[in-house]
């Protein structure tokens, strides 16, 4: 056993320590999906000669960088969801991004306090409906609470981060009392227990289980490209022009930040700038049908598919602040029960 284990250990060490020798490198910690990021990473390395070392995480990215402390290899963080991004900044693991190019490309409203993060793409959460069974082409989120949708509304779990941010935006706009009533009314309308993924609601519209549902727009884009039965889900639904009453469409963001103890700070800035450039914005935003922040990017796939975006003006910071209260309200009304 011990000889064997020594052999294994040796094999493992040689596996782990062998890495290609690039003169320049940058270390990326991200919660984004490898399939989405890899094309951007490859383009960056090709254009700049800087090698990207990546670790694709899920929950706990912030805790890991915090624990790794002064010796953390992390240079750049690419994150999704304004709550996670704000928390990273609040936890003190980021540093201000000092780049005139970044400031010029992304408007101040899309940058975090003290320039500690910058939005790369916007992700809209909208209402979709059955092409056959629903007449209207526009809707307010408030209208989803109308009893006319009783037994016809589908949504994933209320505690999922996408819905959590959506309800937090509602809360920021309308206050706790109205939000609680809203959640109760939505719950009264559901056709099935909230659960599954965002795409499942499209399938459930096709199957006739529900008529109307909430979905992140990029799933619509991905289904439109699908070569399997998901194409059928796509064909069964139509996106409705969705907005808060007297406001715009609910958006969440994906963003970049530079780690406080970044050992390759210069390269980190280069990577963030690159992510905001036209080429990367096309790859990164179009790859997932998200809305690019760089105004020079024309004909983004998301815009071609769904039209231009009118984001709601509720500040991202307010949405982040209301997440906890929104999450508690979801529990209180038993939304996911």
């Amino acid at each position: 056993m011990s000889v064997k284990s020594r052999l294994y250990a040796a094999a493992l060490t040689s596996c782990l320590l062998a890495g290609p020798a690039f003169a320049q490198s940058v270390n990326l910690y991200t919660t984004r999906e490898p399939a989405l990021l890899n094309p951007v990473i490859e383009a960056f390395t090709k254009d700049t000669g800087i090698k990207v070392n990546a670790v694709f995480l899920k929950d706990g990215l912030q805790e890991r960088i915090k624990a790794e402390g002064a010796n953390s290899p992390a240079d750049v963080m690419l994150l999704v969801d304004v709550g996670q991004i704000n928390e990273a900044a609040d936890a003190g693991i980021t540093q201000p991004i000092q780049s005139a190019l970044v400031d010029k490309t992304a408007p101040a409203a899309l940058r975090g306090p003290g320039n500690n993060w910058v939005t790369l793409t916007q992700r809209a959460r909208i209402v979709v409906a059955s092409k056959d069974r629903v007449k209207q082409d526009a809707i307010t989120y408030e209208e989803l609470a109308d009893p006319k949708w009783k037994g016809k509304f589908c949504i994933r779990a209320g505690q999922h981060p996408y819905n959590n941010a959506f309800f937090a935006a509602y809360l920021a706009r309308n206050g706790a009392e109205k939000t609680e009533a809203y959640l109760k009314a939505l719950k009264a309308n559901v056709a099935r227990k909230p659960g599954g993924g965002d795409r499942d609601v499209a399938r459930d519209i096709l199957s006739g289980q529900c008529d109307i549902a909430i979905i992140n727009t990029y799933y619509i884009g991905l289904m439109s490209q699908a070569k399997n039965e998901q194409k059928g889900w796509y064909e069964a639904i139509k996106p409705l022009k969705s907005s808060f009453a007297g406001g715009g469409t609910h958006v969440n963001v994906s963003a970049a930040a530079i780690a406080k103890n970044a050992p390759n700070k210069e390269n980190a800035v280069k990577l963030v700038e690159y992510m905001l450039g036209e080429k990367a914005q096309h790859l990164y935003a179009d790859g997932n049908f998200e809305y690019p922040v760089n105004a020079d990017v024309k004909e983004a796939a998301s815009v071609k598919l769904l039209g231009a975006l009118t984001p709601d003006t509720t500040p991202l910071g307010d949405i982040a602040k209301n997440r906890k209260a929104a999450s508690e309200l979801v529990d209180k009304v038993g939304f996911d029960n």
Partner: protein, 564 residues
């Protein structure tokens, strides 16, 4: 009769024995390592502000979450108990068509990650799945508004799906015991006129209790800690509350408190089970360990037995595999079989093998310490060393993160001070952190496996060997090792499969540029296209098949009898 078998002896080696100090130290060290994340979690939980999560939890979350969790656990326990014990009894006691193959096939579902099985069943039973399509073609219905069809996205679905993946834990441990049952008891019972059913109920089942408890403990802890499948299927479990408290309400201390309370409940339940088993011992006299002759079944019953054993295999492994393979072909995923996939495969094999070797070595060491040592604290230490399995993977990884990173920083700073250069993060940067995490999490599998093997060797045999002048080392080498080898091999293979499909800790603790098959599957699933991960998922299962076959062989009573 039962007196002869269930020895009332106190099981402790007699006072003549010098306790093995080195092994006892190892046990203490292992327990300390496992205690590390638990302590770190406990420290995180010590926050006065975090207490604020409790009023909300008790008012709005716990009633529903406790109910769901208890129903889920009870359902999975009943499912795994019936399927695991039933199939184990059939394959060890009876002869029927296909028995030899079914014996190892029954282990296969274990190689499926639970969340994959969940996705697959939602697809298979879904509106466009084969079953509903056929149903519509036959009936002429067009929409789900016209008919009802079972939907797996609920508590019942979660119970069935988790049960299908987890029953092999029970099957394996119980089968090992049935396979070794003293032929004498079975034959005596038969001579005394016991029917097959009485034999099962009055003799086999009571004797299988420790094995059933061991298998069920693993299955239920795995259920309790599952997040992927139960979240996808819409179960509001306690573990989900840990996640929402941490992530949506930004309260890691609050989440740690919930996790600690869950841990206490788990420890309490395990203690209650041990207490109720009491001082009874379940060891067997070794000399009678010749295999029980399998009795042939009448024709109809034989085919029924074949069907009963084939069904869990079909639903738990073959159907999901066929689905994955279909997706693999339909999507031309062969293009994914590139250098990156090969690297993931190599990484998976290397780290799982390394971790398994270490986990098993430590597990055997701790078990030996408990068996031979006289220190009164050893059994408690062994319990402590098993705690890692009782925490959700991500929570455990979070608990490990702080001490591991602290160690890494210490080394890095010291080395910079002395040599002027730093090796970077030694553990977190190398994958060693991952091996440590697997050790903490899966030690209980190796430990419990070895202990259940040792428990079957009567302490009287130790006494006999000692009176013949055998030393401690000799006793271990010539008696315990050959007799427990099959149990240890079985545990090793379980650990290997578990390491291979482990996801949450691997995601959080792996170094840069390090992908495994499980993280590849997750990468696709997180984009909502889990079907694109079919190749990686297939590889996990295919690698799992080999251990499953070995497992079936290792657990064979014949081998053991021959070995002794």
């Amino acid at each position: 009769m039962s007196q002869a078998v269930i020895s009332p002896a106190n099981g402790r080696p007699s006072h003549l024995w010098r306790p093995s100090t080195r092994l006892a130290l190892l046990a203490a060290l292992a327990a300390a390592l496992v205690a590390l994340p638990v302590l770190s979690l406990g420290l995180t939980a010590l926050s006065r502000e975090a207490l604020a999560v409790w009023p909300h939890l008790t008012a709005n979350v716990l009633p529903a979450a406790l109910g769901d969790t208890l129903l889920l656990l009870a359902g999975v326990a009943v499912f795994c108990g019936i399927v695991g014990v039933g199939t184990a009894w059939l394959v060890t006691q009876h002869e029927f068509p296909g028995r030899k193959n079914l014996e190892w096939l029954l282990v296969l579902p274990l190689a499926m990650p639970t969340y994959i099985t969940a996705y697959v069943y939602v697809e298979i039973l879904g509106f466009q799945g084969p079953l509903q399509s056929l149903f519509r073609a036959l009936t002429g219905y067009r929409s789900l508004r016209d008919y009802w069809f079972p939907d797996p996205r609920n508590l019942t679905g979660a119970i069935l799906i988790l049960g299908l993946v987890l029953y092999p834990y029970v099957y394996l441990s119980v089968r090992a015991l049935f396979g070794m049952q003293s032929a004498a008891i079975v034959e005596s019972a038969r001579t005394l006129g016991a029917s097959r059913w009485t034999l099962f109920r009055r003799v086999a089942l009571p004797m299988a209790r420790p094995a059933l408890a061991a298998g069920l403990t693993l299955a239920l802890l795995e259920t309790l800690n599952d997040i992927g499948a139960s979240e996808y299927l819409g179960v509001r479990s306690l573990t989900l509350s840990v996640y929402t408290t941490w992530l949506n309400r930004s309260s890691l201390p609050g989440a740690a408190q919930i996790a600690c309370v869950m841990l206490l409940v788990v420890v309490g339940l395990i203690l209650v089970e041990m207490q109720s088993r009491g001082a009874r011992r379940f060891s067997l006299p070794v000399k009678r360990l010749r295999p029980v002759g399998r009795s042939p079944l009448p024709r109809g019953a034989a085919w029924a037995a074949s069907a009963a054993c084939a069904l869990p295999v079909l639903l738990g492994a073959i159907l999901p595999l066929a689905f994955l393979f279909g997706e693999f072909l339909r999507r031309d995923l062969i293009a994914q079989a590139d250098a990156a996939m090969l690297r993931s495969l190599a990484n998976t094999l290397a780290i799982s093998a390394a971790a398994t070797a270490i986990v098993v070595a430590v597990g055997v060491g701790v078990a030996a310490a408990v068996r031979l040592g006289r220190e009164p604290w050893l059994p408690a230490v062994a319990r402590l060393a098993s705690l890692g399995y009782a925490l959700p993977g991500t929570v455990l990884a979070l608990g490990l993160l702080v001490p591991l990173a602290a160690f890494d920083n210490l080394v890095a700073d010291a080395s910079r001070a002395v040599f002027g250069a730093s090796p970077g993060l030694l553990l977190l940067g190398s994958g060693a952190a991952l091996v440590i995490a697997y050790l903490v999490r899966f030690l209980s599998i190796a430990l419990a496996g070895t202990q259940s093997g040792l428990a079957r060797i009567s302490p009287r045999i130790d006494d006999a060997a000692r009176s013949l002048g055998a030393g401690r080392r000799e006793l271990l080498r010539r008696l315990h090792w050959p007799l427990t080898r099959p149990a240890i091999a079985a545990a090793a293979l379980l650990v290997f499969v578990d390491c291979m499909k482990e996801l949450p800790m691997t995601l959080l603790l792996r170094p840069l540029n390090f992908e495994t098959l499980a993280t590849q599957v997750y990468g696709h699933a997180s984009r909502g296209v889990f079907e694109d991960g079919a190749l990686a998922a297939l590889l996990i299962v295919l690698i799992g098949i080999y251990p499953a076959i070995m497992l079936a062989r290792a657990g064979n009573g014949e081998k053991l009898a021959a070995g002794s």
